[in-house]
Symmetry: C2
Subunit: 307 residues, 2 copies
DNA sequence: CGGCGGCGATACCCTTGCGGTATGGATCGG
DNA sequence: CCGATCCATACCGCAAGGGTATCGCCGCCG
């Protein structure tokens, strides 16, 4: 059997997402009949029924579900291949590091310093993206490495190296009834309104970024349980209380699997070397914190580290 | 910028592999001029030089290297998407498990038994492939799950679950000077001829499969250090001696990342459940071994398990 | 030094097949 | 029963992919 073109895959994905030939054709910037024909042709060539058309709508068969899912991955891979090749051909090469705001837990400065000492190092561009975009940017080949968070980000398709584990703190308004506690358990927060992050399920109000969330917490509209690195940018009127049984978050360095880029390899070396040198320190804080709302890390010691 | 078609990617990969337009065109079943043109066109569209043509051969630019590498992955992904969709559309669905001969270390029987009890289970087809083919079959979508060996197989692009760790044994002819030792270190085998497996570097004679290797060992042409599961099919004239500092091999169950197949999920459940139930037993041997060339597992206890 | 051979690029032509428009046919709602 | 909606079919034109012939360049060898 001969090749399936990306065009055909993209057509199918569009139809499978819209479940409507007309709308899909519109999205693809073409007329409906050629789209119908292309999909039929694809089905004939694969020898599989992908869609069930009952003259008043479209449904996916099981094979169609699979092709939608796998086809998206394949299209991602093609796009990433092109973009990485283009980036590799640019006259001044650079390494793009992507993370969400504060997503490095204070590690990036040290990593960059170590990296620049490597003979294979390239100039670095740090891209601060919006929450939920990190993994996608890396998948599409727009970035070379990313600082991601396990278990919140989807790490599949990447090679990774764990850099740092973080425990959780509850971010509360200073006026909250629990604000003077030295530590909490998740059960203490039962019934509180929690933020809902884009892409994740939940019933709280959706928040786009940490600043927005902080604002809402300060207004008493919600509380949040976050990796302890949030303490680096707490507002005056908020406090962070350790949550002893909260989610453990791992900051991981991720890059495209089976990458052969020497610049990426050097970056990974730098990052791993750095965290190994700092082994034992769970999280780095600026030396001069000065803020009373920063809970001393020793408070975590009341509970054994669950890892 | 508009889409890159798989056709164009395949053309480029062929040329990049052959480093010769004529041969690549032959391989693709087409004439050389359209191929030249297609590649030029691809370069123009990407805005990147991929090949350096000096009228007496072709070389890859750095961008070309990247596109060769990433393009192969992308083509794999497209092919896998198609094949998985086709498999999902077959009237009698089945689950294809792939492994190399003896690659399950005796686990598969139990896994299959546990799996068949699951309500989501499908009929299973066990595919025994040649050495080095396992990961590829899974990548191409010809199999649903594979039993692979870390660190020998390339696990990137798969989700995995570790099932079993195996220590190493040296397979020696009964007449070998070391054949009566109770245990060895790698240093004891310095200077011995070792097999070279397909795809891996090395300087020994290449072997295709274990049976061939066993034959060569019996003839005194080589010795081999293998995961201890080889003891399950040793010939009469061979012995297996624990190698205390040999490579630790992990049998992992692998499946396409981000898979949504319920049948695969059920298989993973069955396998993980099984190994958890047997937790503590490092490797399962048939109850009635009876072969004196099977070294008792207790011999391994002289060295602490390095994991 | 000149001819030859190998290799990629160019020129030109033909055919395929993709995409567009017009229309048909089925089904559901009122 | 009519109209609206939506996918399929019919048909057409043109862009683009593929083939053949040939050129230009370069290294090799007589």
């Amino acid at each position: 059997m001969d090749r399936v073109e990306t065009r055909e895959l993209a057509y199918f994905v569009a139809v499978a997402e819209e479940l409507h030939f007309g709308r899909a054709a519109g999205r693809l910037g073409m007329a409906q009949p050629p789209l119908s024909r292309a999909i039929r042709q694809l089905e004939r060539r694969l020898g599989v029924e992908l869609l069930i058309r009952n003259s008043r709508g479209v449904r996916l068969t099981e094979a169609g579900e699979v092709l939608l899912h796998e086809g998206r991955k394949a299209l991602d891979a093609v796009e990433a291949a092109v973009r990485r090749a283009q980036r590799a051909g640019e006259p001044e090469r650079k390494l793009v590091v992507v993370m969400k705001p504060n997503g490095d837990a204070g590690l990036l400065g040290g990593i960059l310093q170590a990296y620049q000492g490597d003979p294979e190092a390239l100039p670095v561009e740090v891209e601060i993206c919006r929450i939920g975009e990190q993994a996608g940017l890396l998948r599409e080949g727009r970035a070379d490495v990313a600082l991601l968070h396990d278990p919140y980000d989807d790490l599949s398709g990447f090679d990774t190296e764990e850099l740092l584990t973080q425990r959780s703190v509850a971010v509360l308004p200073r006026t909250h009834g629990l604000a003077r506690r030295r530590s909490l358990h998740m059960a203490d927060l039962a019934g509180e309104t929690m933020p809902r992050w884009p892409g994740l399920p939940g019933d709280g109000p959706e928040v786009r970024d940490t600043a927005q969330m902080m604002q809402l917490i300060a207004l008493g509209r919600m509380v949040a349980v976050m990796p302890e690195a949030v303490r680096r940018n707490l507002r005056e009127e908020l406090v962070a209380i350790p949550v002893l049984d909260g989610q453990i978050t791992t900051v991981v360095l991720a890059w495209p699997e089976r990458s052969r880029s020497r610049a990426v390899a050097a970056f990974v070396r730098a990052a791993v070397g750095l965290v190994q040198a700092e082994e034992g320190t769970t999280i780095a804080f600026p030396a001069a914190v000065g803020h009373e709302n920063l809970v001393p890390a020793s408070d975590f010691e009341v509970a054994p580290h669950p890892l």
